[in-house]
Amino acid sequence: MDNTHIKLIDVSKTFDANTAKQVRAVKNVSLSVNRGEIYGIIGFSGAGKSTLVRLINLLERPSSGQVLINGEDLTLLPKKELLKRRKRIGMIFQHFNLMQSRTVEGNITFPLRGQKLSKTEIANRIDSLLKLVGLEDKRDSYPSQLSGGQKQRVGIARALANDPDIILCDEATSALDPQTTGDILSLLKQLNRELNITIVLITHQMSVVKEMCDRVAVMDDGVIIEEDSLYNIFSNSKHEITRKFIDTASNIRAAIELLKTNPSLLGVKKGDIVARIDFNEKSTKEAVISQLSRKHGINISIIFGNVETVGGLPLGTLLVAFKGDEDPVKNAIEDIKSSDIHLEVLDSAGIY
């Protein structure tokens, strides 16, 4: 059976087409999301990811291309049918978008309006939803009386009201503090696991992607520049922008910054060659540095090191300084480059 849940085929969206201020927000994007998967789309603001996620439930109608949900092209459906399909796609938002004039209960039951459900059915539904998101005691509160995290929980409960099999998250944790972000992400993960809901999330926070996603697409200027499993993106990314995002989720940026401003603090001297080495699953298990040091008769000092697990697999980053004569150092670097370890010389001139 085909496991594809959401499929975008060559989708583009142009705002103000044929005018001077025409904006091509999404350009020829194709992607597919499997059933039960958590799929992340990461990009800087203005990359077009907000538009892209709205193309999935046709809040934005694509200028061209197809949007398939369960193999059915939403762009071809009459309005009435489209509205029906939308009920099965929950959406949560960065700023929660709750109605101030309704209580928590009113907000959560809002999507059920006009569906001829009996009072007991609605009451049962709200009871289980409140319990699921842990807000049983906030039933009659107004949104203005809730914290950010609680508001997002209401948002999630509301998105679940119609029993969706897809949830779209539009920067769902960007307005929350790190602790609350963690709580909300665990809740989403739980929904994904227990209810087998497919989740598409867009974010500019690599930490969110790292914690949540099975697969990741990196978006820039309306185009998906890279798409892969979470681990491959982290261990073997091909684009500069992707690397920038990955660095935001680790401490390496701070180490590089320190290296630039105060190299002597890290024991780096003039003439040393500083390089960044990224290890993947296989190479983290080998004693690469000491082998290299012995083989070429040079010293390699480790300035910064980080090993973490991404998607359950180990991933390491080292900042090292090669100390020794020019030729053996060059050979050592060539040696690494010819293996499957990623090495990038940060400063070959040796001047910091």
Binding site: L98, S101, F110, R113, G114, S144, R158
Partner: protein, 227 residues
């Protein structure tokens, strides 16, 4: 009390039957034209909000037409509007004078103002909640009714308060076409016959009326805001 009025406000005392009738006429004009204007104002205010280019149901023709018409009518001073509308008023109500003849121009003078007030209140509604409702598969009429009007209710009440106060001052001007009401009373007795106490009492009554409406409006707005 009666002796006090007779002593200090002799003209008011003598014309008290007229004064009471005027109060009722003012209330009558305000209520009838207010209710009718409310209906049209909400309708046009909603149209302005949803039909604008970035709205949920863009319609350039409706938006442009409505926008321009409102601007035109708002720029005509009410006294002039009354005489401008006279033939039309006569056609619709059968008479262009009296309280009955004042109601049509009052509506025409109020609807553009209130439409703008409603429009402003609905623009205040967080578009995110509208978008959320769209993502839930609601239709445009459903969104107008259960998101825009519901979420914008406090703002609409605030706008209504301003409009009613404004409408009361328009009814005073309607006195110039013999529309009756407090404005007419103050004009005929206070101004033309130099009965200063009549003017004074009219002012006090209007002040009370406006205060009551304003406080009522504020109280309702506060209740609706939940903040």
């Amino acid at each position: 009390m009666q002796a006090f009025i007779e002593q200090n406000l002799p003209n008011v005392f003598r014309t008290q039957a007229e004064l009471i009738k005027s109060i009722w006429q003012t209330l009558e004009m305000t209520t009838i034209s207010g209710l009718i204007s409310a209906g049209f104002g909400i309708f046009f205010g909603v149209l302005l909000t949803v039909c604008k280019p970035e709205g949920i149901s863009p319609n350039k023709l409706v938006y442009q037409l409505l926008d321009k018409l409102i601007n035109v009518f708002r720029s005509i001073p009410f006294v002039i509007l009354i005489s401008l509308l006279m033939p039309l008023t006569r056609l619709i109500t059968g008479t262009a004078i009296g309280t009955k003849g004042a109601i049509f121009p009052l509506i025409v003078g109020t609807v553009p103002f209130f439409s703008r007030q409603v429009n402003a209140a609905l623009e205040e509604v967080d578009f995110g909640t509208v978008e959320a409702a769209q993502s839930m598969g609601f239709t445009t009429p459903q969104i107008i009714w259960s998101v825009y009007l519901r979420e914008g209710l406090a703002g609409i009440v605030r706008g209504s308060t301003i409009t009613i106060v404004n409408l009361i001052s328009l009814t005073a001007m309607a006195g110039t076409v013999g529309g009756g009401g407090l404005g007419d009373y103050a004009l005929r007795y206070g101004f033309q016959r130099r009965m200063y106490d009549a003017t004074l009492v009219t002012v006090v009554i209007l002040l009370l009326l406006v205060t009551v409406i304003q406080s009522l409006g504020n109280a309702v707005t506060r209740r609706l805001n939940h903040i």
